[in-house]
Subunit: 161 residues, 2 copies
């Protein structure tokens, strides 16, 4: 790559008319969860052998938890199964930020992830959440939103008001 | 929220004509870095007090590292500064996945994050990378792509070929 390291498509990071800096306006928990629930997919953040790991995955906001499907060998499945009854702590992030206007939002839920074992919940979640990839995703992991943080990227006026 | 927990906008997660499951096709390192470098922004993943943390942030691929700006109080700045000379291990993720067609890509870089201290590099990176938010982002952190993983979500035929 060129010395600057920026490939041709890197121009996307600097729109012709660059948007002004945006204000970060914190989101209330309820609004943050509403936005997260409406996002088409998010990113699960966890730890594998003390290293940070992140995977895009589609999700479902159900029974006040963030539910995702995983497969047998998934690192997260293993981590959740290896955890004690309290589960393992993970983060789940979703955002919708327009790269040109630089307006949008980001929400992060942090909490314990536990395998869903109740057959009724499993059946309901499977009906509501189809895997996006061609893989057997038999496991369901429910993430408890112990901590919900989020913000909107707004124009200055809105941010100051 | 309703028992299903899915707000009205949740419909976005299930397009009227739902796309078929996609194939995950691993990306070569060079292609993965090219896609990452061309992404308008990504998400930095790190650890704060043993908890997973993730923040969207715009980036620059320069000198074979992923460069981001941070501010004085940023948890990542602290972590990077607190780390020994080897730095702290973080992940940086970018993706471009169409929620309707469910086609796209995702790339994750994992490696040591270190503060950029060389004045020449600092000046060059500051000129190339403007903060998206209205905050003083004096620090630059360079992430070494020790591990680069990524995949494309493709239609079956492409995935199988």
């Amino acid at each position: 790559m060129p010395p600057s390291g920026r490939p041709g498509t890197g121009a996307r990071t600097r729109p012709p008319a660059e948007a002004p800096p945006r204000e970060l306006v914190p989101l209330e928990r309820a609004e943050a969860l509403r936005l997260l629930g409406g996002a088409p997919f998010g990113r699960i953040v966890f730890t594998v052998r003390a290293l940070p790991a992140i995977r895009p995955v589609n999700h479902l906001l159900a029974d006040d938890t963030v539910v995702i499907r995983t497969h047998d060998g998934a690192a997260l499945t293993m981590a959740a199964l290896d955890g004690d009854d309290t589960g393992v702590v993970v983060a789940f992030e979703a955002d919708a930020i327009d790269p040109v206007t630089r307006l949008g939002w980001s929400v992060v839920v942090t909490g314990f992830a536990r395998p869903v074992t109740d057959p009724v919940r499993l059946a309901r979640y499977r009906a509501l959440l189809s895997p996006w990839v061609n893989a057997t995703m038999d496991h369901m992991v429910a993430i408890q939103p112990d901590l919900v943080t989020g913000y909107r990227l707004t124009e200055g006026a809105a941010g100051v008001s």
